[in-house]
Structure formats: structure tokens, C-alpha cells
């Protein structure tokens, strides 16, 4: 798992920062209005989609741009499950633990992934390649149980397929 010091050493690529700047600029936010805060969550979404996570230096940059205290921003990030201040794996394995998936054995899938990769839900493998998360319903309940690797959805997954899915990741990595 990443530690506090890791996030401080994080290097934020300038081109991505430019893109974030442009995004914020296009919103034409009135920095003196209380309503500027209404843009915070969408900006955090944008930032996380660009950088993969929301390291502290990035939070501080956003805090300055929006004139919102860093404490408030980090409070918002910790409240919402979707936002993460620590990096995830290159392959984000999300096992759905919504009700439909739960009754079709989602729990067993989660255990199998945990066993296979020797990490727990919420953790990242030491090589930074995989992370596992339990998710609450992605609205694909008809395909339960469902697993997502990054944005790709696998439906009707069985415990036996867990190895194949990891292999899929290796193939994706080879292609990239």
C-alpha cells in the first residue's frame, strides 16, 4: 500500500495539469461566489480521471484554484468512496457486492481474487499492477455476478474464471 510519503513525492505531469487548468477555465467560475463550491466534485472527477488518484499536492493546487480550503477538499475526498488519495493498481479489479451479485456468489469471487493476488480489497499489489475493490452495484445486475477490470465488464463470472481474467490483464499489458 502507498504511504503518506509516496504521495508527497508524486510528480504531477505538466501536460495533464494544463488540461485540468483548461477544464476549470471553461467552467467560468466566479471565485467570489459561495456557489463556486458547486463545481468542486466535478473538478475532482476530472482530476482523478486525468491522474488516476488525488494526491495531496494536486488537492492543494485545486484548493488554490477554487479558493476553497485544503481541509475542506480533503474532507470531501474522504467522504466519497469514488475518490481516492492513494494510487490504485494499473488494473483496477472491482468486484460487485451489490445485492444481485451477492446472492449469486460475489463474495466468493472477491475471496478468490484476494487469494490469487495475495492482497485484500482496498489494497494494491506491491508491483502496483493490480488493486482490488468491492463495489456496490454498477447497474448490470442482470449479468450478476459482475466483475470490472478498469472499465471492462465481465458478467456471470465463476470462481474458476478468476485466473482467466487475470490472464486477460496480462494480455492487455502485453498489447499496450
Amino acid at each position: 500500500m502507498a504511504t503518506e510519503t509516496d504521495t508527497r513525492e508524486i510528480h504531477i505531469p505538466a501536460n495533464l495539469l494544463d488540461e485540468l487548468d483548461r477544464y476549470i477555465g471553461d467552467l467560468k467560475i466566479d471565485l467570489n461566489s459561495e456557489r463556486r463550491k458547486g463545481y468542486l466534485i466535478q473538478i475532482l472527477h476530472k482530476a482523478q480521471s486525468l491522474f488516476g488518484f488525488l494526491p495531496e499536492p494536486l488537492q492543494i493546487i485545486i484548493s488554490q484554484k477554487l479558493n476553497i480550503s485544503h481541509a475542506e477538499i480533503s474532507g470531501v475526498i474522504s467522504f466519497y468512496n469514488y475518490f481516492t488519495a492513494t494510487p490504485k493498481g494499473r488494473y483496477r479489479i472491482s468486484v460487485c457486492m451489490g445485492t444481485a451479485c451477492f446472492v449469486k456468489g460475489g463474495e466468493k469471487l472477491l475471496e478468490e481474487f484476494e487469494k490469487f493476488l495475495e492482497i485484500k480489497a482496498g489494497e494494491v499489489t506491491p508491483d502496483g499492477k493490480y488493486s482490488i475493490d468491492a463495489l456496490r452495484c454498477i447497474g448490470a445486475c442482470g449479468l450478476a455476478p459482475v466483475v470490472m477490470i478498469n472499465d471492462k465488464i465481465y458478467g456471470n463470472v465463476t470462481v474458476k474464471q478468476v485466473g482467466d481474467i487475470i490472464e486477460d490483464c496480462l494480455l492487455m499489458e502485453a498489447e499496450a
Binding site: 463550491k37 466535478q42 470531501v76 468512496n81 451489490g98 444481485a100 446472492v103 456496490r136 452495484c137
Partner: protein, 486 residues
Amino acid sequence: MIEQVRIVLRNSGLINPEDIDDYISVRGYEALVKCLTESSPEDIIQTVKASGLRGRGGGGFPTGIKWEVTAASESDEKFVICNADEGDPGAFMDRAVLEGDPHSVMEAMTIAGYCIGSSKGIIYIRAEYPLAIERLNTAIAQSYEYGFLGENIFGTDFSFDIELKFGAGAFVCGEETSLIKSVEGKRGEPVVKPPYPAESGLWGKPTLVNNVETYANISPIILNGAQWFRSFGDEKSPGTKVFALAGKVNKVGLVEVPMGTTLRQVIFEVGGGIKNGKEFKAVQTGGPSGGCITSENLDTPITYDNLKAIDSMMGSGGMIVLDEDDCMVNVAKFYLEFSLDESCGKCTPCRIGNTRLWEMLDDITKGRADDNTMEKLEVLCNTIKKSALCGLGQASPNPVLSTMKYFRDEYLEHINDKKCRAGVCKALIDYAINPDKCIGCTLCARNCPVMCIHGEPKKTHVIDQDKCIKCGSCLSSCKFGAVYYS
């Protein structure tokens, strides 16, 4: 055979959701034209009231009355919000509507804006629905192009804008006061009502919050009239309801049926019965706020009030079918764990109370509970219900209370006999091999992850109970039915 009736899902799957002309060709935006050019806001509100439409987001509050109250609030600015947070895990009705027919929701929001005197609409949508977000963005852009959104719509002095705001994976943000906090860019912690959003909502201004499915009913009501709408469903619950049928049923997916249809019809006629010929055990409605309904009550006509009377609730429309392989204590524990995870932590009964409840349920599933546990559970459930601040906490004990009421024997079996009849609670079961059935094929031994099954080929195999981790893979691998649990 019960017929599905498609009002909410009238266009889903039939039109191209990315083409506004397709929507227009099925009378899309005709209701908006009619409202803006022929009707006063009061008339429209009267029609919605007369239709008897009730909120589909869970509470079942009469929509017309909500519109009337928000219209009556004096303010220089008001907001119309569409709640597309769809937090109930295992439900995907709203997603289907937004992906399949986004304009139907936007048209209704615009009509609502005209009625209550608002020029600003916001759709609060969960980030987990990227396709729905994309389709909404397309639909909004096309609506501006056609002049169905923007300044002076159809040359009237009514203007309306719609913008998207995103959730970020917090179930409690489906609750309207929490949703409003989230739109304001804050932590989505609920606040005490009153004041209701109708008086003081987003940025302290009067705000109308309705669910996706609620909005999807509006245009057909305007076009066909309140009486037409009332010809479906039941006196106090008119219209239809969309359910997301999931779990151990043959045909999973969305169904839209008139209110008053029975659970049996939905599960056995539309849903094609239980999967793999297993026995029906219960159906869960209302998600983490709801309860489990047993076979005795399968012939109950589905209405807001009937479901409440049998200790469940309509909820947003999730319908999870459970069979003999599901352990009801474990199901209750699952829902509670959900509420506990999603609790915002602001008030003690929800945060601490649910932790204690969960521990007690965990004790039951692990064989550590004693004679007093049932009573303690019940007392604590009722305390949480009475003292939690928002709907999440107040409703969180419901799955526990309903399973305790209808499946008391299963709870007692766990507590007194240390037995789980569904074979789910690992601590309470032992796997064993029946020597009369085992032919010694060795398959189970090869599949056992801890190699604790011993025996020579073609001879009876035996499980070493001390090493067994109860993973169940021997049970699923034996082709001769020799492995069993007790």
C-alpha cells in the same frame, strides 16, 4: 398471464436515444408544447395531482402536492432536481430510463420548471453510469439546438436550463437533503427536515426533488390525462411500477407492471419462476431499507401500502428473489453491512448502533450467540429506528426486523442448534463424504485447496475436519453427489 404495461419504459429499446428526432416522432416534446402554449402552471399541477402519481424514488409522496407546495414557495430563484443517484444495490430502473429515453426525463423536468417557477434544472447522476451520462449530454445538447431548452422556449417568456451534477459513490446522497449538500460541493451529510427542500433546498432556495421514474410518467399523463393514468393500478397507487428483478429467478431484468399486480405474478409469470427448479424462499423489496416477503404473502397485490403492511416497502423497485440456498440471517447481515458501510457517521444510533447490530448478527452466523441475542437485537433495532437522524439510519434495521419476524426459526436454529440449513454460514457446517456414494474418483481431493481430502483411487475418500477450511469446492466438484454438509 399478466401483461406488462409500458408507460415509463414506453420508448426504451424502441427509439434511438441519441437522436432527438426519434423521440419527437413518438410524440416527444408534445406535452411540453401543450403545457407552455395552452395550459397554466396551476392546471398542469391539478392534472398531476388528479393522476394520483406518487414518487417512485422510495417514499411514495404524492408528486402533484410536492409540485404545488414548491410552486407556492415565494423566491426569486428555484431549482428542479432529478434524483438519478439510484443507490439501491441491485436496482437499475433509472439507469435503463436514462440510457434508453433521456429526453422523457428532461421534458418532464422542463414542465416541472414551468409549473413551479424555476429556470434551472439539475440531474444528479451517479458516476457509476458513464453511458447514461454520455446519453444525457448528447440529449441536452440536441435539446438546446432544437430550442426545447434555453432562453424563451417556443417564443414564450419561459426559459430553462439543465445541467448534470455527479455523485461520487455515496449511497446516502440519494437522500434529498444529502443530495443537495453534495450538489453544493460538500460532504453529503443529511440535515434534519423540516425545512423541506420545497421551502429551503439548494443554496437555500425552494427546490423540487423527484426521481427519474417519477419524471418519466409526466408527459404521458399530460398527453393522455389523469383518468387514463388512473386506469392502471390501484386507487391509492395508480399507474405502473418498474422493477429490477434479480437473484434466483429464471428471467432477470426489468419489468413494468400495473400497480396491484401480485408478487407471484411478477416472479413466476413474468420472471419465469425460480432458477434450477429450486424452492422459492423469499423476495426482498425496498433494498437496504426494506424487508423480506415470504411465500405466504406472495399473493399480495403490490402497492405502497400493502408492502408496508407486510413489513417491507416499495422502495425504488429492486426485487431480489431468494431460494432455499440463501441463509436469511446472512442476507440480513449483508444489508446491514451495506447500511453500516454507507452510514455517513453523523449520528450515533446509526454509526454505533448498527455496528453493534452487525456484531450480534455476526455472532449468530458464527455460532457464538446466546439465548438473549434475539431480544437484544430487537430492542436495539427499535432504538435505532426511533433515534437515527435520516432515512438511512431509521430504515437500516428493517431487513433484520423483517427476517426476524418471518424466519424466526432460522435464527433460532443458528443460535440454539448451531445449524445453518442453507449451508451458508461456514462456521456452522461440516463437509463430509458419504461412503455409500463415493466411488473414489479423486476429483474432490485434487480440487481441495488445502489438500485435506485423503483416500486411494477407487476407494472411499475422507475429509480431515481439522484442516478443512470449508470452501465448498469438494461439494461442487463431486459428480456423484457423495459430498454433503451437515
